[in-house]
């Protein structure tokens, strides 16, 4: 397979975009990414989205986005892998360009979650889990993650407040991201008092639902000189899966999907965890950050919080996490999130983020997008092209 690169970046702010529909959000991000790359057409468009059918009564987003982006006739398709839909769409673009069938592909992650009331969105998000055996039992998506957190607290004897390190760090970074939804700091005291959503998960453990779209333009690395965008190399974009239902896993606290995904990604990229300069982790819930750090090979089992504390996860720490605010601070427009993560990582590598959050001398970034409770995991490793 030939090497692929990212040559253009686009994103809308993450917000409650009542004034914009799916097509406007998607088209804005895609056209911005095309302008950044300096192209006026692409060979294909991959759209990552989870809930357009349930919440906007609109399927067939592939054709809709290419049509409204002024790309009449271009191939467009929607890829769905729950909250992992965004990175799944990037994966499809990598295959399309890698195969030589296409030279330049646009990827758009787009989601509108605020079209209906919260209860309705909560039900829609639960379609990421097993409809017949998890969701019909009244288990929400937050609830699934709460089951993991409760067991983790029990096994490893943490105090729940120890988890505050992750959302506090995310919010500290999101202040400097103009596209983030929550641009304020939070404190340990606020975390401790935060109201329960699904015990032991509280509001400040949980990434907020939101609307947004992000886009990247993927090209063959051999062609980068044809574009005006600053290129970033995609060393790997690899998928691992696990059982859809949490209860079907022998060891729920070990995310096999993460392990499988990173093993392939590290191998293809020829890197080790210690080579990663910063990590856009899928912090949909604080517990997922912990489990991801462990299964990705950064921390020992049960040691993620101690690891974070010791090595430092801030901008000047040993492993900066969620430098753009993460899902927690930026907001979590589910099918768009995986693309936002890669856009943020690429902007860091390009040296284009606010100086307060710019990591110096960075070279290799990792972004990890997780669908469901770890049933689909896509790990992307990016490298600066000198």
């Amino acid at each position: 397979m030939r090497k692929v690169a990212i040559i253009g970046l686009g994103q809308t702010p993450v917000r409650e975009h009542w004034e914009s529909n799916l097509r406007d959000l998607g088209v804005t991000a895609l056209r911005d990414a095309m302008d950044d790359a300096g192209v006026d057409t692409v060979d294909g468009v991959c759209v990552g989205n989870m809930l357009s059918g349930a919440l906007s009564e609109q399927e067939h987003l592939g054709s809709l986005i290419v049509d409204y982006a002024g790309l009449d006739g271009v191939e467009g398709m929607k890829i769905e892998a729950a909250c992992g839909s965004g990175a799944a769409a990037i994966r499809m673009a990598v295959k399309a360009v890698g195969s030589g069938l296409m030279d330049t592909v646009g990827v758009v992650g787009v989601e509108k979650l605020t079209e209906y009331s919260g209860k309705f969105s909560t039900a829609a998000l639960a379609t990421a889990a097993d409809a017949d055996y998890e969701t019909t039992m009244g288990l929400s998506f937050v609830g699934i993650n709460a089951l993991l957190m409760r067991r983790y607290l029990y096994e490893y004897k943490y105090d729940k407040n120890d988890f505050s390190i992750f959302p506090i760090n995310a919010h500290k970074n999101s202040i400097h991201n103009p596209n983030a939804m929550f641009r304020y700091e939070i404190s340990e005291a606020q975390y401790a008092k935060s109201k329960h959503i699904a015990e032991p998960i509280n509001l400040l453990d949980s990434s907020p639902i939101a609307d947004g779209a992000a886009a990247v333009i993927v090209c063959a690395q051999e062609n980068i000189s044809q574009f005006k965008g600053k290129p970033i190399s995609i060393l790997a974009c690899e998928v691992g899966t696990d059982t859809l239902a949490l209860d079907n896993r022998e060891d729920p606290l070990w995310l096999k999907g993460v392990e499988r995904s990173v093993k392939k990604a590290y191998y293809l990229a020829d890197v080790k965890p210690k080579d990663i300069d910063f990590f856009e982790v899928h912090d949909a819930f604080s517990i997922i950050t912990a489990l991801s750090l462990e299964a990705s090979g950064f921390a020992e089992r049960g040691e993620a919080i101690k690891f974070a504390d010791k090595i430092g996860i801030g901008i000047k720490g040993g492993l900066p996490l969620t430098t753009g605010g993460g899902l927690k601070g930026r907001g979590h427009p589910v099918g768009a999130t995986g693309v936002y993560q890669v856009v943020e990582a690429a902007k860091q590598l390009r040296g284009e983020v606010a100086k307060e959050v710019q990591i110096e001398n960075n070279n290799i970034a990792m972004a990890q997008n997780i669908g469901g409770s770890g049933a689909t995991v896509i790990t992307t490793i990016l490298k600066r092209i000198v």
């Binding site: 919260g118 209860k119 309705f120 909560t122 039900a123 639960a126 097993d130 017949d132 055996y133 998890e134 969701t135 019909t136 039992m137 009244g138 288990l139 929400s140 937050v142 609830g143 709460a146 089951l147 993991l148 409760r150 067991r151 029990y154 109201k195 329960h196 959503i197 699904a198 015990e199 032991p200 998960i201 239902a245 949490l246 209860d247 079907n248 729920p252």
Partner: protein, 132 residues
């Protein structure tokens, strides 16, 4: 009002019907057409007894639409005696008394009502084993 699904799942919901692999003996719940251990498609029905221990639990405050009116309620992962884990609501126990490792048993209860005119869904919930 997805009546076919109500009907299709009745043996699972009322009787914990899973499957047993005829080649390697592996037990599955939910039922599976392919054995996750040996990939055999050779199976027979297997009914779980419905006794187990709590692996984890949560109390849900912000619930999906359909369950909103009963929130807060508790849901958990239960390790059945036969070595299979399942997801179920708890009943007949206050949230604060739930503990990992607690012995529980299956009972049939109403799970939800599908709108004022819709069918009522019944199925398994778990309650603490009552010592005699």
């Amino acid at each position: 009002m997805d009546i076919p699904r109500y009907w299709r799942l009745k043996d699972q919901r009322y009787r914990l019907q899973g499957k047993k692999c005829l080649d390697c003996g592996n037990l599955s719940f939910p039922p599976r057409l392919v054995c996750p251990k040996c990939k055999s498609r050779n199976y027979e029905k297997y009914f779980f007894i419905g006794k187990g221990t709590v692996y984890s639990h949560t109390t849900i405050y912000q619930a999906p639409d359909r369950f909103d009116h009963i929130a807060p309620y508790s849901v958990g992962l239960i390790d059945l005696e036969e070595g299979v884990r399942i997801t179920a609501q708890f009943t007949d126990v206050p949230a604060e008394e739930l503990k990992i490792g607690m012995k529980v048993e299956m009972v049939i209860r109403q799970i939800y009502e599908d709108g004022p005119k819709g069918p009522i869904l019944y199925g398994y919930k778990f309650r603490p084993v009552i010592s005699v």
